[in-house]
């Protein structure tokens, strides 16, 4: 482990390697746009709560209005994004990360 730390050149080389670029892209390619999506979606909800009161107050079923459905959809989207992210990481990112880690640690897999 300590010779990995000392071997800075290897890390810089790894950082600039195409396989690390693939790992970075696999992670950021999902995490960044998804963050933009859920933050905008949440902001839209907050803005609607402030400015679109009539719309939010529209009754849909009995006393249940748009505000509740919009709010509950925030829960649904949060659960869904968490699940999608987990699936994406396990399928697309973990294998790449494990390969690079093994390579750097001399084939000894970290458990």
């Amino acid at each position: 482990m300590s010779d990995i730390r000392q071997d800075s050149d290897r890390l810089v080389a790894m950082q600039n390697s195409p396989e690390f670029a693939r790992l970075r892209k696999a992670y950021r390619g999902f995490a960044f746009p998804m963050t933009a999506v859920f933050l905008s979606w949440y902001l839209l909800y907050v803005l609607a709560s402030g400015w679109a009161r009539d719309f939010m107050g529209t009754e849909l079923w009995g006393n249940i209005n748009v505000a509740y459905v919009f709010g509950l959809l925030q829960f649904v989207s949060t659960f869904l994004i968490a699940w999608l992210y987990e699936r994406h990481m396990e399928k697309k990112v973990d294998p790449l990360a494990a390969r690079i880690r093994d390579e750097l640690e001399g084939g000894v897999s970290v458990r």
Binding site: T35, Y42, L47, R53, G57, N65, F75, M89, R101, V110
Partner: protein, 559 residues
């Protein structure tokens, strides 16, 4: 007034039962703390529970650390009195976890050791960044601690019916002493087990109440909402946003304040030090991811239930009975417990339910303050003592000793401050803790993890810039001076600010600083970076490779 009413309403049987239930919780947690202390040998054990908790265990503990009395009693109370607007809090508190999951948890687990400062200082000059990380960790934790402990003091008088000043002080001292004991003796291991027990208790209590409320309304949500709206005396407006935040009377200021609060809630969570150190208690980044996903399920289910608790209290207890006990509505959930308990199981059932929910509330406060004390004492010992004072050369045994002493000192300071703060209006402190975390910590964390060019000057500027902006703006905001509450019935004016009537030096119009201070934190971080030429290419490479692959990460300890 409210205390007098409460004192007459609390029966001695309920008082004894609440005390007995709570004392058995204390007894169990003390036993666990002792057992955990025997398994705590190394620094990794003390700070990170040996990194040996499973994803599920840590996920439940995340729920325990996060679901504070502010979310249990506070949100239920806001919904019970102001209707829909309480739901805004629940949603912000939940969505925030996606920031932690997608951007922070795994990378932090891979690159850090014990504290938030480990990641921030990873590729920087240690001393300035460690000092800054320590300062902001302590500020955020102390704000949050005071809010929780003052809440505990107020709660005991309402739930046990003892209203004297002495009783409140004794409660604060007792809560403080227990929390110090948990942290000093049990370290992260003991604290994690306490979070797990508390989370299970809280979920059980909330689920039980939700089922009983829904049973009362024949599982018809629309009926529940309709009855709540009718009993509230506010009609349909009770079921829509705008009774508490961004009211029509507040105009644009209110709407901006709402956005400001929303931003602090959603961006603050991933910068809360006591949440961040939870990611170190599991063996791998994969387990850290699993634990946050579990945490999201638990926290999400809990916040959904706050709807049933809040509207249930409005419908079954009613606003007059709630405000008679506590004008802020913090006793709505316990009152609801007595009401539905009595309706379903008879008077004795009501007493038992109330005693159970009241002791769950105490357990909730106790667990959260323990988490906060642990986070701040870890930072004092690891960031300030070991890496600032001793430049990373302090012997390991010494560091843990300092952590224990710091926990004691921080706990004592929190007790003293809370006793003084009792008479003040400190409800804004939780929102302020989130605002500081979002303005100071989050920019520094995200820049560290994702911006190659980021450097020491940037990190220091982001933390102090965000911290000073958030705290500074709040000092000159209406919540510190100038906010006035008018009693609609009598027209009598009381101060809703930290300072009393007659003191007014506010010029910042909003209660919440986030909308200004969060962009400022990011701006200062950028400005500090571009003004400095420092760039450590090797350490930047090490951090990025390590954070994404886990190469060279801190391993779980083996016993």
């Amino acid at each position: 007034m409210s205390a007098v009413l409460a004192a007459t309403e609390v029966s001695s049987g309920q008082q004894a039962l609440t005390s007995a239930l709570f004392l058995s919780f204390v007894a169990i947690t003390l036993y666990i703390t002792f057992r955990a202390s025997r398994a705590t040998k190394t620094a990794a054990d003390y700070y990170a529970g040996g990194r040996s908790f499973s994803g599920l265990q840590n996920g439940v503990a995340i729920g325990g650390d996060y679901m504070s009395a502010a979310s249990f009693l506070g949100i239920a109370g806001i919904i019970a009195l102001s209707g829909y607007d309480g739901f805004l809090y629940s949603i912000g508190f939940l969505v925030a976890w996606l920031v932690a999951l997608l951007l922070v948890a795994e990378l932090m687990r891979n690159s850090g050791k014990y504290t938030m400062g480990d990641v921030l200082a990873f590729r920087m000059r240690q001393r300035p960044v460690r000092a800054a990380a320590g300062v902001s960790t302590i500020v955020v934790s102390i704000f949050y601690l005071i809010a929780q402990m003052v809440g505990a003091g107020a709660l005991v008088s309402l739930l046990l019916g003892v209203s004297s000043e002495t009783a409140k002080n004794v409660t604060i001292v007792a809560v403080g002493a227990l929390m110090i004991f948990y942290v000093v003796v049990g370290g992260m291991k003991g604290t994690t087990y306490i979070q797990i027990i508390k989370a299970l208790l809280l979920m059980t209590g909330a689920t039980l109440l939700t089922i009983m409320v829904m049973f009362q309304f024949g599982w018809n949500v629309s009926d529940l909402l309709g009855t709540a709206a009718k009993e509230s005396g506010k009609g349909d407006a009770f079921l829509e946003p705008g009774l508490r935040y961004a009211t029509e009377a507040q105009g644009l200021t209110g709407k901006l304040d709402l956005i400001s609060l929303g931003l602090a809630l959603v961006l603050g969570t991933a910068g809360l030090p006591h949440i961040l150190i939870r990611f170190y208690t599991v063996p791998t980044a994969h387990a850290a991811r699993k634990s946050v996903v579990w945490g999201i399920w638990i926290i999400g289910s809990f916040y959904l239930m706050t709807l049933a608790l809040g509207f249930g209290a409005a419908a079954l207890v009613g606003p007059e009975a709630i405000t008679a006990q506590d004008p802020a509505g913090n006793t709505a959930a316990p009152q609801l417990a007595r009401e539905v308990g009595a309706e379903v199981f008879g008077t004795t059932g009501g007493t038992i339910m109330l005693a159970f929910i009241a002791s769950v509330a105490f357990a909730t406060i106790l667990a959260v303050v323990a988490g906060l004390t642990l986070a701040s004492s870890s930072s004092v010992a690891h960031d300030v003592y070991a890496n600032y004072v001793h430049r990373g050369e302090a012997p390991e045994g010494q560091e843990v000793k300092v952590a224990r002493i710091s926990a004691f000192v921080i706990g004592a300071v929190a007790i003293v401050l809370s006793i003084y703060a009792q008479k003040l209006n400190v409800a804004f402190l939780v929102a302020l803790a989130f605002a500081v975390a979002a303005s100071a910590n989050l920019p520094a964390i995200l820049y560290s993890l994702f911006w190659k060019r980021f450097n020491t000057a940037g990190a220091v500027a982001a933390i102090y810039g965000g911290l000073i902006s958030a705290v500074g703006l709040v000092i000159f905001s209406p919540v510190v001076s100038g906010k006035v509450k008018v009693d609609p019935a009598t027209g009598e004016e009381t101060s809703a600010a930290l300072f009393g009537l007659g003191t007014d030096f506010h010029w910042f119009p909003l209660d919440n600083p986030g909308i200004v201070s969060i962009p400022l934190g990011f701006f200062f971080g950028w400005l500090g970076t571009v003004l400095s030429k420092e760039h450590n290419e090797y350490k930047a490479a090490e951090l990025e490779v390590r954070s994404l692959t886990g190469v060279g990460m801190e391993k779980a300890s083996v016993h």
